[in-house]
């Protein structure tokens, strides 16, 4: 399998070349175009419960598509939902935690498990239902805006809406930033305080803030 990221950083897609018999798994709706020798198999990967969990907790689709090249090599292009970057990472028998909706596509060998971010994340609201991607293989994930890799050594604070993912070696706690006044007036809501050593990925725009802004423009109709 070969890949090429095209159109970085604002509106990238990933072009994947599959050898005969090779396959790749992607979120429903991520396929842009493909050669006609690629077969699609749609399934609820991980069973009905696993898929439900993935859908409810991680904002991913219930069904995922598996694309397999038949009778020669094939080429397929995937795009994320949001405006912004697409990041590649080769996992080597390791895990990465991604926030809601960040997973785009990856090797079929990678295990995707939805994780409830814990009771505390109920207060976090934004994307704190994580999914854990684990195993060995290629992984592509997306961000709203640009993506930045941060190597944390010690402590670091990230706004909940700006987290794309992080390594499980990092510990995190959800907290408010600033004093009590800040909780209501700062517009920052909740943040994640990471501790330990590992990488985190942040995005330069925030889905929730953008959605709230867009919502403010909606017409208001009185209920009859």
């Amino acid at each position: 399998m070969k890949h090429e990221l095209i159109g970085k950083p604002d509106f990238p897609v990933v072009k994947i070349t599959l050898n005969d018999g090779e396959c790749i798994v992607a979120e429903a709706g991520a396929m842009v175009s493909m050669t006609s020798n690629i077969a699609i198999e749609t399934s609820a990967r991980g069973g009905v419960m696993g898929s439900l969990k993935r859908m409810v907790f991680s904002g991913e689709s219930f069904f995922q598509n598996k694309f397999t090249a038949n009778g020669g090599s094939g080429e397929i292009i995937f795009a994320p939902e949001t405006m912004g970057d697409l990041h590649f990472r080769e996992l080597k028998n390791e895990a990465l935690i991604l926030s809601r909706g960040a997973y785009v596509c990856g090797s079929p060998d990678l295990k995707i498990e939805s994780k409830w971010g814990g009771f505390k994340s109920l207060f976090g609201g934004e994307g704190l239902m994580f999914q854990k991607i684990e195993g060995t293989g290629s992984l592509f994930f997306s961000s709203f805006g640009a993506i930045e890799e941060i190597v944390i050594n010690g402590e670091y604070v990230i706004d909940n809406g700006h987290i794309v993912g992080f390594e499980p070696s990092l510990d995190f706690s959800i907290e408010k930033v600033g004093g009590l006044k800040s909780l209501f007036l700062s517009g920052e809501g909740f943040v994640c305080r990471f501790k330990g050593h590992g990488k985190a990925y942040i995005q330069t725009r925030n889905h929730s803030s953008f959605a709230v802004w867009a919502d403010g423009w909606r017409k208001v109709e009185s209920r009859q």
């Binding site: 600033g178 800040s182 517009g187 330069t204 017409k219």
Partner: protein
Amino acid sequence: MKIDIKYKPGFAMACVTLDADDKIRAEAGTMVAKSANVNMKTEKASRGGVLKSLKAAFFGGESFWMNIFSTNGTKGEVKLAPTLPGDIILEELDNSTIFVQSTGFLGAEDSIDIDTKFQGLKGFFSGESLFFLKLSGKGKVLLSSYGGIEKRNVSGSFIVDTGHIVAFDESLNYKIEKFGSWKSFLIGGEGLVARFSGHGNVWIQSRNVPQLGQWLRATLPPKKK
């Protein structure tokens, strides 16, 4: 204070390095991340009492409160980004004054005084929330744009669509007027424009915030009250 702007021009983010005594004031909700030794305090937008802040909230369009970031004596960093896709530009004010359209303000060094200038009836006519924050003093200012940003030096007279103005120097005079004849105004789709005159800079954004809003308004289903 050192400011690095990364990921220009589509989804820019300002990375601010704070030294021991540095403080930066940022628009509410713009913090992306910060090092653990940076503290955030929420304060009223304008110094000078509640009345001034109320004025900022109602007329400035920006949040009533702003966040002030400082370090606990060691070097720290805070990353800031606006809500909309687009660019960020860093300007150094040298005992000068600029007017910044409400959505174009991202942050400013603590030494910069933030005030509002009520636009009066001129502003109301535009329907495009033509409210400006008045930034003056000596220090760094971060402007954000929806789309790209262009700084244009005006000498004489120059016309900018009101939705495309990010900021302008105090040295410029401006007048809000309809675009062309009444016919162009009503069916030409340009609405109101600002006619600048004199000498100074105007910062222009390549997309129009109210137009995006109107597009969303037409696209999204109505809310039920």
